[in-house]
């Protein structure tokens, strides 16, 4: 337990994770595993792992390695909380000790939120529909794209993100003037009918419907425009955001308290030795 909670173990696990993340950044290049990572973003990680992931096994192997690294870090975090942080907490103890413990515990909740986002609920990103097309959603729901209104120049519609940023300027693309009209129904009975705009999602039952952008289904017929939609539901999203917000606030308070508390006793001793 002492070894598991040691700071050397912490540094080792952090270094391993950093190397693994650096490897991930390298593997994400389009000519390496870029397409597999794009696929990873389209659905829940659990669905991806049980489905298309193994068409290109290096991507899921990298992901499992990342999970292993996070697991080791969590083991260290848990051991450190149990053996170092919690035993120091007593009534009347210094605020900084409580804050340090809380920052570590809330980080655990944030990581659990990330984990939940990968396995719970439903996720379909890059759902491409043209007007008149429909798709089935969980819970017997059906989503139909009824109409697309795209007033901007359609000739640049299929540009990749980095190139599009130079073309889709605020004068060339008017976000509120471009929208899609969708209908959500269950067994023929309409549940919701309305417009979706970029950055203005709608919630139908528990599903969040989002318009991510537009696309031209054929390079030859760029005047025909379809919608890139996302349908996402995660029961723990609110909990994740609350925990993350609390984490930010706790970090900020910890920074202020550390500032006011001055040097730690260990560093004081060190300075006295140096000055002496």
């Amino acid at each position: 337990m002492q070894r598991l909670s040691s700071l050397k173990f912490t540094l080792g696990s952090l270094a391993g994770l950093m190397i693994w993340l650096g490897l991930g950044v390298f593997l994400l290049q389009p000519n390496l595993l870029g397409p597999s990572f794009q696929e990873m973003n389209r659905v829940l990680i659990l669905d991806w792992m049980l489905g298309s992931a193994w068409d290109q096994p290096w991507a899921p192997i990298w992901f499992l390695g990342l999970c292993l690294g996070v697991g080791v870090m969590l083991l260290n975090l848990g051991a450190c909380t149990l053996t170092r942080l919690l035993p120091r907490l007593r009534p009347g103890n210094r605020l900084r000790g409580w804050l340090l413990t809380l920052v570590h515990l809330v980080m655990l909740v944030v990581l659990m939120g990330h984990g939940a986002e990968m396995v719970l609920g439903h996720k379909q990103e890059e759902l491409r529909l043209v007007p008149g097309q429909a798709t089935a959603l969980p819970g017997g729901l059906s989503l139909r794209l009824e109409r697309v209104r795209f007033t901007s120049d359609p000739s640049v519609i299929n540009l990749p993100y980095r190139r599009a940023r130079w073309v889709w300027t605020s004068s060339a693309f008017h976000r509120r003037e471009n929208w899609v009209q969708v209908r959500v129904s269950r067994e023929g009975q309409e549940l919701w009918h309305g417009k979706l705009r970029i950055l203005e999602p709608a919630k139908v039952e528990s599903q969040r419907l989002t318009l991510a952008g537009f696309f031209a289904p054929s390079e030859a017929k760029k005047n025909q425009v379809g919608a890139r939609l996302a349908v996402v539901y995660n029961p723990l999203t609110t909990l994740f955001f609350v925990a993350y917000g609390a984490w930010v606030v706790l970090y900020a308070i910890l920074a202020v308290v550390t500032w006011r508390s001055g040097p730690s006793s260990q560093n004081n001793g060190q300075t006295r030795r140096q000055l002496g």
Binding site: K123, E125, W166, T169, V248, L254, A255
Partner: protein
């Protein structure tokens, strides 16, 4: 008119940062502080002129990032750290770093990023602004750690503590930026997380700073090792960030 004014501010910042750094490191008296306020005024003028040209705050791209970093550094180095010699060393390093950032554009292009429609959205503006503020704060923390190698024991202790405090402040600002970024991504794409290079790099940055804050006591007691540990995150993060910006198509 505004473009010419920006040119003037750019060259003034380049020269003033070099001169202020030299005054702080080698000069006597209090002229270095006057030079520091002048650098801050020029850096502010450069940022405001850019905002007037773009009709938005400077948010992304190599030159916009560099001028925001310079503005943050110019303000932070004027904060009193509690030790006069240490303060002068830190200020000099801060201004010279600002000078290097500006000098990059003697070779690189000072082009602005386009007026992407997403930059009108408050969450995206907040995200980019907080990310740059966090990077600048970490860079300042790194410079404080480096400056600790050039002062006596009391100054070293003061600067290492100062550096640690700003690592924490930078992390709080960074996490606030991540919170805002998650919100933006969820509103735009449906989910708050994405498996792409930007998200992985951001996580890597956080782990790098976290590692610097978890040195074993025996290592933290060695000033050079502690200074290196606290300097690496800010220097590496800003180098990677600027490289990324210069490599943008």
């Amino acid at each position: 008119m505004l473009t010419s004014l920006l040119d003037w501010f750019y060259w003034s910042c380049l020269l003033a940062t070099a001169a202020a750094g030299a005054l702080a490191w080698w000069g006597t008296g209090r002229w270095w502080r006057v030079a520091g306020w002048l650098v801050l005024a020029l850096a502010l003028g450069q940022a405001v002129t850019t905002a007037l040209i773009l009709h938005r705050p400077p948010l992304a791209g190599a030159y916009e990032s560099a001028l925001v970093f310079l503005l943050w550094l110019s303000a932070l180095v004027l904060l009193p750290c509690g030790d006069r010699t240490a303060q002068r060393r830190l200020a000099a390093l801060g201004w010279w770093t600002g000078c290097v950032l500006m000098a990059l554009f003697l070779v690189g292009s000072r082009r602005f990023y386009p007026d992407w429609y997403m930059y009108q959205y408050i969450w995206s503006r907040l995200f980019f602004s907080l990310r740059m503020a966090a990077n600048a704060t970490w860079l300042y923390a790194a410079l404080a750690a480096l400056a600790s190698l050039a002062v006596d024991a009391a100054g070293r202790h003061c600067l290492l503590r100062w550096s640690r405090n700003f690592l924490l402040v930078g992390t709080a600002v960074f996490l606030a930026g991540e919170f805002v970024g998650f919100t933006w991504r969820m509103q735009w794409m449906g989910d708050y997380w994405c498996w792409n290079a930007n998200f992985l790099e951001a996580t890597l940055f956080f782990l790098l700073v976290t590692a610097a804050a978890h040195l074993p006591p025996a290592w933290a007691a060695r000033p050079r090792l502690r200074a290196a540990a606290q300097a690496v995150p800010g220097l590496l993060i800003v180098t990677l960030f600027m490289t990324h910006m210069f490599m943008e198509p």
